[in-house]
């Protein structure tokens, strides 16, 4: 053995500061300027938090969250939230289990899968946590806190269950997911009014989930159509996708709200929520088709050829060989589409629906708060809701991309 020499000792903090903050005159100047900017911004935020009166949020919290949902039926939202928390926990656990299984097969050690402590959850989901804490701090009774705590408990429980669930029985868990989703929807929608009175942040979430779910099969068909060797089928798919992608969502929403009725038999008068849901579905399908097409292109042509050589029929090749691989490759892009739709649901406020953004305007027109410029308080609150969701999801998508090994050969 050769004599072991230690790595040169570097004084960590000093060296870091010198390298990253003071490596030259220009760099030092930049450090000073941006340091000042950070300090000023931090002080501005503190001053805003200290000097603002958040009564408008306290009074209208229910309006922001659920809009016009009947207040004596709010338990339905709580039950649905529990069901969906359980579902989210199960999904997270299943993904983690799949990644762990894959790591075992390939011998690749996935860091952060189990280790790095329990704090990694906090680090990953802190924006959610922040938003929840702020919301709960604005409530006046203990009930919402209890509901939230139970929801988190169910999510953790679901995660734990899915991780420990024997692999051979996993299909039952997959089956449980749509059942939980449907049950959550059923609990919320069975109050007698359906979804026509839904509003607030609840409406944004519903439109995101329902829009994506409804658009998904349509989008897959369009993507397959676009790759079809039949010129007519391909032409129809390409035409639809390009037209929809060429126009803003708001034109489709206007179409849904003002013109959809003209295209339906005169006895059919759908509610506004239904109308925008139709518009969102038609819009989203084109974008999902492009996401799926990207996934289809990622499947090597050798896969199809091998399946053909085995004598599988075209439909079976698509269903058993191509689509499973393609859909897995699309998961990160699909999350991206999910985020983009999540943000786009605010557009329904522009055509007169009562989502969370509309709730902000509505709260600002109440006699107690009218013309006091309180949008500077309500809008950041709404912004935080969207930011927490989008930011966390986009980071989770990146993480998922790494862990599922998408893009690896």
């Amino acid at each position: 053995m050769a004599t072991l020499t230690a790595a040169p000792v570097r004084p960590p903090l000093v060296a870091w500061v010198r390298r990253h903050l003071l490596s030259g005159p220009l760099n030092t100047l930049l450090t000073l300027v941006f340091g000042a900017v950070f300090v000023a911004a931090g002080m501005a935020v503190v001053r805003f938090l200290a000097n603002s009166d958040f009564t408008i949020l306290r009074v209208n919290l229910a309006l922001f969250m659920v809009g016009g949902f009947r207040r004596d039926e709010l338990w339905r939202i709580a039950v649905a939230a529990w069901l969906l928390s359980l579902m989210g926990g199960l999904v997270g656990g299943l993904v983690a289990a799949a990644a762990a299984a894959r790591a075992r097969q390939t011998g690749v050690v996935v860091t952060g899968a189990t280790g790095r402590g329990r704090w990694s959850v906090l680090r990953r989901f802190w924006p959610f946590g922040l938003f929840l804490v702020i919301c709960l701090s604005l409530t006046e009774t203990i009930q919402p806190t209890l509901v939230t705590v139970l929801g988190i408990g169910l999510a953790v429980g679901g995660y734990w269950l899915a991780r420990r669930w024997p692999a051979s029985w996993r299909r039952f868990l997959y089956l449980a997911l749509p059942i939980l989703g449907l049950a959550a929807y059923g609990v919320m929608a069975s109050s007698g009014l359906g979804w026509s009175r839904w509003g607030g942040f609840h409406l944004n979430l519903f439109l995101t989930g329902a829009g994506l779910l409804l658009a998904f099969p349509f989008g897959i068909l369009l993507a397959l159509g676009r790759r079809s060797s039949l010129p007519v089928v391909k032409g129809i798919a390409v035409g639809y996708i390009e037209v929809i992608r060429g126009v803003p969502l708001i034109t489709l929403l206007l179409m849904g709200v003002f013109a959809l009725g003209f295209f339906l038999p005169s006895n059919l008068r759908p509610s506004d929520v239904t109308r925008v849901l139709v518009a969102i579905t038609l819009f989203e399908a084109a974008y999902i088709a492009e996401v799926v097409r990207g996934g289809l292109q990622a499947v090597p042509s050798g896969q199809t050829e091998a399946a053909q050589a085995l004598g599988l029929s075209p439909w079976k090749i698509t269903r058993l060989i191509v689509l499973p691989q393609a859909l897995r490759a699309t998961i990160p892009a699909m999350v991206g589409q999910f985020i983009s739709l999540f943000k786009d649901t605010t557009l329904v406020a522009a055509v007169g629906l009562g989502d969370v953004l509309a709730a902000s305007s509505f709260a600002n027109s109440q006699p107690a708060f009218n013309a006091q410029g309180l949008a500077r308080i309500t809008l950041p609150f709404v912004a935080l809701a969207f930011w927490a969701g989008s930011y966390t999801m986009s980071r989770e998508a990146k993480r998922l991309e790494r862990r599922l090994g998408v893009g690896e050969r």
Binding site: A2, T5, A7, P8
Partner: protein, 256 residues
């Protein structure tokens, strides 16, 4: 024992071109190079072999400062590599490097790849640079590809363009980092031939490779590295027929 080998070698070729003294290199806490001392004489061809991860690539990347060594001295043609940017650029101007993955610039034509550095670094007029470039392409026997793009060439052709690109800077030293490892078998020969021609013309070369045939035929000295250290140095005949160190014997028995 190692040092005695070196004094022998350096005596045969006067005044060394490259001198490394007690060079250490760390990646984090991993020591990639450990107390490397060697010198390469003018017009000498040194072949570095060893198992993967033994620090061969790191060694030659320290010579043109693609990696910064942490301790010791690296001197190329009398210029010591320090944090002085001017010294670094001086060394790089005199040192050509050929990479495993070719690293040709895909957005430039073959001729532009070859003339970029002479024009921008050596401030050479365009006509002169193109003449030089064409001469270098002729030297690696692909003058007819001058106006194609790298993506249109085979791997062997690309690697020969990469050699021509380095030669166009008229370097005193050429470094080869596994130049044939990314090539299909039938293309290895054309690249090795170009390198052999270069060696015969008197270029100082350090070659990291797994091509033992090349080492045997062309090298003045063979250096065997393992775990960041130089284990054994010798002339090819000596090295391949009667290796001294057990690690060398093991390695040779595995690959031959």
């Amino acid at each position: 024992m190692i040092s005695s080998d070196f004094t022998d070698a350096t005596r045969t070729k006067n005044e060394p071109m490259i001198v490394l003294e007690h060079v250490d290199k760390f990646f984090g806490s991993f020591q990639a190079l450990q107390d490397i001392t060697m010198s390469v004489g003018r017009q000498e061809v040194v072949v570095v072999i060893g198992p993967s991860g033994s620090g061969k690539s790191t060694l030659i990347r320290c010579i043109n400062r693609l990696e910064k060594h942490d301790r010791g001295r690296v001197v190329v043609d009398g210029i010591e590599l320090t944090d002085d940017l001017r010294k670094i650029q001086e060394v790089r101007r005199e040192t050509g490097m050929v990479f495993q993955q070719f690293n040709l610039f895909p957005h430039l034509s073959v001729l532009d790849n070859v003339t970029l550095a002479p024009r921008q670094v050596r401030r050479m007029p365009r006509d002169q640079a193109e003449e030089l470039g064409k001469a270098m392409l002729a030297r690696v026997r692909i003058p007819e590809q001058a106006h194609k793009y790298p993506g249109q060439l085979s791997g062997g052709q690309q690697q020969r363009v990469a050699i021509a690109r380095s030669l166009a800077m008229q370097p005193k030293v050429m470094l080869f980092d596994e130049p044939t490892s990314a090539l299909d078998p039938e293309m290895i020969k054309e690249v090795l031939e170009a390198m052999e021609e270069l060696a015969t013309s008197g270029m100082t070369m350090i070659v990291v490779t797994h091509e033992m045939g090349f080492a045997r035929a062309v090298a003045d000295r063979v250096v065997f590295m393992a775990e960041g250290q130089i284990v054994e140095v010798g002339s090819p005949e000596h090295f391949f027929s009667s290796p001294q160190e057990p690690r060398t014997k093991l390695f040779l028995s595995q690959i031959l």
